[in-house]
Amino acid sequence: MQVASPRRFGLINWIGLWNLYLKEVRRFLNVFTQTVAAPVVTTLLFLAIFSLALGRAVETVNGTAFATFLAPGLIIMAMAQNAFANTSSSIVISKIQGNIVDVLMPPISAGEFVAAYVLGGVTRGVLVGLVTGLGMSAFVELPFAHPGFILFHAVSSSMMLALLGMLGGIWSEKFDHIAAVTNFVITPFSFLSGTFYSISRLPEPFYSAAYFNPFFYMIDGFRFGFIGQSDANPLLGLAVMTGVNVALWLVAWRMTARGYKLKA
């Protein structure tokens, strides 16, 4: 009788990683209208409301037409919120339903676990951003001053929020907890960190505090990619986003490796 030997893999379980990633992507594509189409429509509505309500009062921001200034901010905000929603909801639902064991049992290491979830979140963030951007380009003139910055910030911001979503999802024990984090942390930060205005409009101490807010660098850097103008030095933005992502990866990896609130 022949017994099938266990599958072997090297340092990284590529098949496991790929399948967990596919599961994450299919999870949101399955409810495409809610996870992609809905945020796109909501973001376009925001563009309409804010340009109509503020268009006459704020014609330009530092020489850029208001709508052109606003559009990149709204795109990155949608990307951030959806990258966060993807990882956080996936983990909380799996924990509550109990099917998280299906991911904890197989030979998938903590690093592979984090990578698969985060890449799933990044995929949703980038997809939402892409569709929103396409939709907006029908109404707003969008220059592409520095495409490299657009790409870097699109990926690094989605990654940052996907990681935050993982941390939030692992920490939450109920839907209430993650809903509270979304409503009281993620939404205010993504609203008030420069999506709608240049931070030079902020009074002190909020102006100085903005320089310690990674959400600000995410929005500012992404917008710089489009309009070529920024509040902070764009190179500083690259450094901050890289640093924050590395730190968050380490925390997420450590939490998963220890099984914090994942393994009893």
């Binding site: 509505l45 009062a57 809903a179 939404t187 609203f191 409009r201």
Partner: protein
């Protein structure tokens, strides 16, 4: 001894009060979201508007920017709440099968819809009140100029959106399709109907489109009752608002009475 069946007149008052109490108890369980959700969102919007427009804030004729916004945000929050309160409840009852409990009770379609109408009126009025409270924190306290007119417009809006919610829940088979109606139909209708901008902020042809939108008359009338600012004569507004409310209510009543998609 066998008890005789309970007798009641034209209206099963006990049924109606019980159902209203049940609906309100249901809302009370989620009061954190009911109360803080819309208030927080309104506060964020107000903060963003003020920060983005700042000293260049335009006044709409004789009233201030916030004064203009406050009634609009109260109404849009209340309309969404009126929709959600009835629709989510009916949807939940439909999918969980609880609906059989009151279809088999001596409780007719009129009593049923009346109960929804009363309970959602209470909930949406509370929502509008919390939004008002949150926006008062920004330093502009708007006191209604004509409370009677205010109530008239508010009731029409509340009734119309309750009926719209009930109709949506009736024709939706899944939560997905109900939330699609909320995102793709309700939100654009509510947010683009003059809650955030006056009629003359729109380009010409869109102004005409807005004049055919009954929700615009509800918001505009409510704003007139609160601040005295108007785009339309309030008499016309009241007529359009109640005409819409009655049509929607009768449509919902007919669907409930026939058991369309409810009784198989």
């Amino acid at each position: 001894m066998i008890e005789a069946p309970r007798k009641y007149g034209i209206l099963n008052q006990m049924g109606v009060t019980t159902f209203i109490r049940r609906e309100l108890a249901r809302e009370w369980r989620f009061f954190r979201y009911t109360v803080f959700g819309p208030a927080l969102q309104a506060a964020l919007f107000a903060a963003v508007f003020l920060l983005a427009a700042g000293d260049k804030m335009i006044t709409f004729d004789e009233i201030g920017f916030l004064e203009f916004l406050i009634p609009g945000m109260m109404m849009s929050a209340a309309m969404q709440k009126a929709f959600e309160s009835g629709a989510f409840s009916l949807m939940d009852d439909k999918l969980s099968g609880q609906i059989g409990d009151f279809l088999s009770a001596p409780f007719n379609a009129f009593e049923w819809l009346l109960s929804y109408t009363v309970s959602t009126f209470v909930v949406s009025a509370l929502t509008a009140l919390t939004v008002w409270g949150a926006l008062c924190l920004f330093g502009t306290v708007v006191i209604p100029q004509n409370p009677l007119l205010l109530l008239g417009f508010f009731a029409a809006a509340s009734i119309a959106f309750t009926a719209f919610g009930i109709l949506s829940a009736i024709i939706s088979d899944k939560w997905d399709s109900l939330s699609a109606k909320e995102v793709f139909i309700l939100a654009p209708l509510v947010l683009l109907s003059g809650s955030f901008f006056p009629l003359n902020a729109l380009p010409g042809e869109w102004q005409i489109a807005l004049l055919f939108n009954p929700i615009f008359y509800m918001i505009d009338g409510f704003r007139y009752a609160m601040t005295g600012y108007q785009d339309n004569p309030p008499e016309l507004g009241m007529l359009v608002a109640w005409f819409t409310a009655i049509i929607m209510w009768v449509a919902a009543f007919i669907c409930l009475k026939r058991g369309y998609r409810i009784k198989s």
